[in-house]
Amino acid sequence: MKRVFVNGIGAVSPVGWSVEALRDAVQSNQLPPNACVQRPGWAQPLACRRVPPPNPVPAVFANARLRRTTPITSFAASATLQAIADAKADPKTDRIGIVLCVLAGCVQFTRRFYHEAWHDPSTASPLVFAETVFNAPSSHVAAVLPSPAINYTLLGDSSGFLEGLALAADWLEKDLVDGCVVVGSEEIDWPILDAFHLFSPHVICSEGAGALYLSNRSVTDDAVELTAVSDPHFYSNKSQKIEATKSVRADLIQVGNAALLCDSRVGIENYDAPENATWSDWSNARLSPKTILGEGMMAGSAWQCVASVDALKQNVARSALVSISGCLHQAVGACFAKSK
């Protein structure tokens, strides 16, 4: 297969609208403040980590396509444009594919529209409905670039972001695109927090986006390269989840040793058990960005990849493993390495 280079990265997270903000927060272990979201009918609000307002406001937000969108699209668009700028790609000349990965998707307008339709469908807003469709964010991102190339929205487990990277590599292999941006994006609304509360009440959810721009052409001599994406390993209970995560490690070991591990721990012992059991003997450097940023679902997985690639770009290490013990039904891993 052709080699796949990560030429650009972008991030929007509870610590700000840039990769630098993410790097600083992870390095300094500085937790962003929790926000409170009121859940109807409950006295106590639910805690989460939200993306702060951008300062300055990105110019792209003036684009007509972004006027009525919810945060998930703003996050995805900003992270994408950061990654494309970082890669020095040009949508005017490059065929840019888009793979947008979500677990929960456009939950704010979905909740709002269903509430309207449930109570009085004759007053439900068609403008809101259009933004509930899963591929609305990727459509807006394509329009903002603009890019008429192939564009998929994938629903999946939080580990599905890595499958998005493998899909982009396939498109590059087949020369369907010159470059491909893979984005993971999520937004917070109370049903998300309520849902996590049902399963893992101590997990702090968060929102944002992360993006990687992939191409077969490297832009620098020591570019970062995607070297492997493991098979997905499925689980349906906790013990199987540990085995699935261990299977990911077994897959990644075939690629070689790495100096850095970036895992999907959030800082809750029970939730992190599969990662802890799998990597208990890991002695090299280790990052756990979601312990700072929160459980960002698909965005959280994207942050792991962004943090890993950024660490390689900053010469913290020459190769990195990403381990994602997904929150629904599978575990997947990936490897990145300096190309030289």
Partner: protein, 417 residues
């Protein structure tokens, strides 16, 4: 490993279809649906699933869920959790697997991938969760189950469990092109030797939220869905599922399986014009049809029939008619076009999959599916519309699917040889 792929032969292989399962408002299974599509039967009724008294439109193409939904290897705990969409999916999948005569319990098929398209997955479960959360905020009973079953990715993982396989599960949510994107993606996986066998298709069930959404857009016809009619006034919603077993021709041949048809081309493009409206000249539709032809190594004049996206809305049909006319050029007068949404409505994420099944039925039976409600063709149609049951000699047919967000996909099928 998903990446890099094992090195080996890079030459493309032929992809045949050895199993098809379908359920729509026309009925359950290939036979009932083939007869319904061949004759252009319309299968709409008053909506019974939820209250539509305050909606402009009161009809839809509801499917009858069988009382004996095949559970296959689904765990007993999971069986009573299934919503309408999951039942449609399992019903179609069981027929496809039975027809393929493949034994998915065999070790060689344990890692068979599943690629499915959907727009709303288990939305009815999401609605039920939300109503309980609002009306009884402290209630927790079954709320976790509803949350999980709302997620399409969980429903499709359930299908994998039912089939007894644990390969990669890919869920594509490209609005109303989802089914075609899934079928096209599965085709590429087999064609490029990613897998010998792939289970693919699309599914969606009617639900209050989506019905209300299209009603709010005033996209639903207050009369009847008449694709490409000069006086068309909107679409009609339906529900259903189609599932296929795609297989490399050599794999099928080695086990003596008889192909139902062959998939030979896939193209996709993005329309950046507007979130819900196509670019009026159909530029992205033209691009996806052209890409599918290039993928198949065919010219437009070799396509005998197009199963159009043809929703029956003013804007979609005008843009698609323009695109087909530009794409076909001088051969436009020789390519027959119809939209089977006239019979079963718009199945959203299932549309492309069910319409792929219709294409295979037409190729096998050598007929053209008519749209009996359309009476006066829009002048934009430079091609013949199929308005009554018609026999034909077909070798290649193309199916279009276009969705919100500008998702455009086209797939091409060939008669079994």
């Amino acid at each position: 490993m998903l990446f890099p792929r094992p090195s080996g032969s890079s030459s493309a292989v032929r992809v045949v279809i050895t199993g098809v399962g379908v359920i729509t408002s026309l009925g359950r299974g290939w036979k009932d649906n083939a007869e319904g599509f061949r004759t252009g039967r319309r299968a709409f009724r008053d909506v019974t699933l939820f209250d539509v008294s305050r909606h402009r439109t009161k009809i839809a193409a509801e499917a009858d869920i069988p009382s004996d939904v095949p559970m296959m290897k689904l765990h007993s705990r999971a069986r009573h959790r299934l919503d309408r969409a999951a039942k449609l999916l399992l019903t179609a999948a069981d027929e496809a697997v039975q027809q393929s005569r493949l034994n998915f319990s065999a070790a060689s098929l344990h890692k068979t991938p599943i690629v499915l398209g959907t727009t709303s997955g288990g939305m009815s479960m999401g609605q039920a969760y939300y109503r309980t959360a609002i009306e009884s905020p402290l209630a927790k009973t079954n709320q976790a189950t509803k949350v999980l079953q709302y997620l399409a990715q969980s429903q499709i993982a359930g299908l994998a469990e039912a089939l007894g396989i644990s390969g990669q599960v890919i869920t594509i949510a490209n609005a109303c092109a989802s089914g075609s994107n899934a079928v096209g993606h599965a085709f590429e996986m087999v064609r490029n030797r990613r897998a010998d066998v792939v289970v693919t298709g699309g599914y969606d069930a009617l639900c209050e939220m989506v019905f209300g959404g299209f009603d709010s857009l005033q996209a639903l016809s207050p009369t009847q869905c008449r694709p490409f009619d000069a006086h068309r006034d909107g679409l009609a919603l339906g529900e259903g599922a189609a599932v296929f077993v795609f297989e490399s021709a050599e794999h099928a041949q080695a086990r003596g399986a008889k192909p139902i048809g062959e998939i030979v081309g896939y193209g996709a493009a993005t329309d950046c014009h507007h979130l819900t409206q196509p670019q009026p000249d159909g530029n992205a539709a033209l691009a996806s049809m052209s890409a599918a032809c290039a993928s198949a190594g065919l010219k437009p004049e070799q396509i005998g029939y197009i199963n159009a996206h043809g929703t029956g809305t003013s804007l979609n049909d005008a843009a698609e008619a323009a695109a087909i006319s530009r794409w076909a050029g001088d051969s436009a007068s020789r390519v027959y076009v119809s939209s089977t949404k006239a019979s079963i409505g718009h199945l959203l994420g299932a549309a492309g999959a069910v319409e792929a099944a219709v294409c295979l039925m037409a190729l096998q039976g050598q007929w053209l599916p008519p749209m009996c409600g359309t009476q006066s063709a829009d002048v934009a149609c430079k091609f013949p519309l199929v308005l009554k049951p018609t026999d034909a000699q077909l070798n290649y047919v193309l199916s279009n699917s276009f969705g919100f967000g500008g998702a455009n996909a086209s797939v091409i099928f060939r008669r079994a040889i």
